[in-house]
């Protein structure tokens, strides 16, 4: 191919996408010819991971700006795809449709929050941090406010938030690898980790960028293809997003007909851990305005404070490109998020409508227990039925399912070929890997650049800095995998906590750093420290039986943390002296999109 790599991007990824589609077709032919389900699953995961590893190898670099910010030459649309992959985690891919399926409206606050946050990113932060020219988020805090303490506090908040998040992602890669490759979870976690490190170790941000684009393509195909296929197969409409109104109202009708019968605690004891029944209305408003808004708000402010997303906008060629790139990111996220509710609707209707061939409610218990897919998923501990009332017929309240099953099992229930399940496994793996990569890199870069280079050894040579960065990458990855192997918290819970931690400590120090010239070092340190500590204290208090206040739960504790952070930052800033003239001038410079960045190209 002629010309440089950047100019050839559309061609390269065009060929890649074509190749992936061809691979899916080859696999489906192989399935017809008798390849087993297990082999197909292994092929999908192994093939895609191998491709990412090759991209990771080709992106190897020895330059600091390539390692930290991909040389600042990633075009807007591709950075959008990379951010979308960085953003959409194993939780978004595997658990989101399940959350919507079980919790309805109350859960949809997460969709609104995880998209609305990008408006804050685009308008309040990304373009200004890009102009700043920093390598990492603490780099901005440290330079804007000055002093090693503020830089170090930012690294602490970043590490707490990202580490909480990354264990969940490594856990997800482990879950998928263990199912697809049929190995025990404790080993699968490390298989996942090695795949993750293959993408990021040699090329840093450059390697992660180009693998994330590849991962986005896999995950979006893996998500959309089954949704469209199932919708068409059920006769629900060829474009589900615009055509499922009848299905949504049919579910409401069935809910009214069956009613939500409450199970006794004794009966529920029989149900395996982690499975749930349908107890909430599908499309009706089932949460109070504050419950919805507080969760959405926490997720939006958390989005704007999570470093692995912010640092993606450091890689664009210009400030203008950073703004546009946020728009593209959200567009690519929108493609998946707007499909999740459709998948939840199709999945639920196909299971509960007695007039459909796949419907199981109203059938006799023994008949349901004889269905092939029921047996498979029951064995995988993701489905369960029990005849609580002893009438021999399956009622709505007697059917239980795991959240992951909505994405993983619906293709099989709808009668799609197994090749789709292999594809879904590859998609889930891509989603979890890309997020884990971004997070591990965010932590390792912050520690290597901000703690090691800026604080401990400012004279270190580039080669030495990059060795430190890579060693940290491996260490943090292994620490994350080790904790993931312990399986402490469910995938979704820890993801939401990460948002709350990030917003508690970083939201106001970042935003006010650009928008309030009077904000100073003392204020920022107080804001980060008190925000993080009070948020964490609130979480511990609620977890240990505290009642909480103002309806702030363990999922929205960041609202309390960030409020404390804001007050602390404003009060302390005003009590201490204003930032010096040089800092004020720096803030003025940041607000002008053109001209040189504050920090040099190599720093």
């Amino acid at each position: 191919m002629k010309g440089n790599f950047i100019d050839n991007l559309p061609k390269v990824y065009g060929i890649y996408t074509g190749g992936f589609l061809a691979f899916i077709i080859i696999m489906s032919i192989a399935e017809q010819m008798g390849m087993t389900a297990k082999t197909i699953g292994i092929c999908f995961v192994a093939f895609t991971v191998a491709i990412y590893a090759i991209i990771g190898y080709l992106s190897r670099t020895a330059q600091a700006d390539a390692y930290y910010v991909a040389g600042r030459q990633v075009p807007t649309v591709f950075n959008g795809m990379a951010t979308a992959a960085d953003w959409m985690s194993g939780a978004s891919f595997v658990a989101m449709a399940g959350g919507i399926y079980f919790k309805g409206y109350g859960y949809m606050a997460l969709l609104v929050g995880w998209t609305g946050g990008y408006v804050l990113v685009a308008s309040l932060l990304a373009p200004y941090l890009r102009k700043f020219g920093c390598y990492t988020v603490p780099d901005f805090i440290g330079t804007r406010y000055g002093g090693n303490l503020s830089r170090f506090m930012a690294v602490v908040v970043l590490t707490v938030a990202s580490f909480t998040y990354v264990t969940a992602q490594i856990n997800a890669t482990g879950t998928i690898a263990s199912v697809a490759l049929d190995i025990p979870f404790q080993y699968a976690v490390y298989v996942g980790l090695v795949s993750i490190l293959l993408c990021s170790m040699l090329g840093g941000m450059r390697g992660v960028t180009w693998t994330q684009v590849a991962q986005y393509i896999v995950l979006i195909i893996a998500y959309l293809l089954p949704v469209f296929w199932i919708s068409n197969k059920m006769g629900a409409g060829f474009f589900p997003h615009f055509m499922l109104a009848d299905e949504v109202s049919r579910i409401a009708e069935l809910e009214a007909q069956f009613g939500f019968v409450k199970n006794s605690a004794e009966n529920l004891k029989e149900v395996p851990k982690g499975l749930a029944g349908i107890t909430k209305a599908h499309s009706a408003v089932n949460a109070t305005p504050w419950a919805f808004i507080s969760l959405a708000l926490a997720m939006m402010m958390g989005t704007a404070s999570l470093p692995h997303v912010m640092m993606r906008y450091f890689t664009t060629p210009s400030v203008k490109a950073a703004r546009k790139s946020v728009g593209w990111s959200l567009f690519f996220i929108f493609l998946l998020y707007s499909s999740a509710p459709m998948l939840a609707t199709l999945s639920k209707l196909s299971l509960i409508d007695p007039t459909l061939p796949t419907g199981i409610i109203g059938k006799s218990i023994s008949e349901v227990q004889a269905i092939d897919w029921y047996q498979n998923w029951n064995q995988a501990n993701l489905m369960f039925v029990s005849d609580f009332n002893g009438n021999g017929t399956l009622e709505l309240n007697e059917f239980f399912m795991g959240g992951k099953a909505v994405v993983l099992a619906t293709p099989e229930i709808a009668g799609l070929p197994y090749v789709i399940s292999g594809l879904v496994a590859a998609g889930g793996m891509a989603a979890a890997m890309s997020t884990a990569d971004g997070l591990i890199l965010a932590i390792a870069n912050a520690i290597s650049h901000d703690v090691y280079y800026k604080i401990i050894d400012p004279k270190a040579e580039t080669a030495k800095r990059l060795v430190v960065a890579r060693v940290l990458l491996v260490v943090i990855g292994f620490a994350g995998a080790t904790i993931a192997a312990l399986e402490i918290q469910g995938i979704l819970g820890s993801v939401i906590w990460a948002f709350d931690f990030a917003m508690s400590g970083l939201f106001f120090p970042l935003v006010l750093g650009v928008w309030w010239k009077r904000a100073n070092k003392e204020g920022a340190v107080a804001g980060m420290f008190l925000g993080l500590v009070s948020g964490a204290a609130y979480l511990v208090w609620v977890r240990t039986g505290g009642s909480g206040f103002l309806g702030i739960t363990q999922l929205t504790f960041g609202i309390f943390g960030s409020a404390v952070s804001l007050v602390a930052m404003v009060v302390v800033s005003l009590m201490t002296s204003a930032p010096n003239a040089a800092t004020q001038k720096m803030v003025d410079e940041v607000r002008i999109p053109s001209g040189k960045s504050i920090l040099g190209k190599q720093h």
Partner: protein, 86 residues
């Protein structure tokens, strides 16, 4: 007022407008979630349900591109736009 101050004043105006629209679609409408859901929205979905599935999400996408274009216009007006790439 210097060119730079004028530029910042306009940028700040745009920010407030952007945040106002953001507020409506992320928070404002959900104050009336229950009432709005009685209304039939686009494509026949209940209105609040539609906003959570597609409406608000799509509005954010459009809002960011609108914001980016407006900000570029402001930058051009004051001669602060960057040359070349995009």
């Amino acid at each position: 007022m210097s060119k730079q101050e004028q530029h910042w004043e306009k940028s700040r105006g745009l920010l407030f407008m952007t945040l106002a629209i953001w507020f409506v679609f992320s928070i404002g409408i959900f104050l009336f979630g229950a009432e709005m859901n009685e209304v039939t929205g686009p494509f026949g979905y209940p209105l609040t349900y539609w906003f959570t599935c597609q409406g608000s999400l799509g509005a954010f996408v459009i809002l960011i591109f609108w914001f980016a274009n407006r900000q570029e216009k402001i930058d051009e007006e004051f001669g602060f736009s960057e040359r070349g790439d995009d």
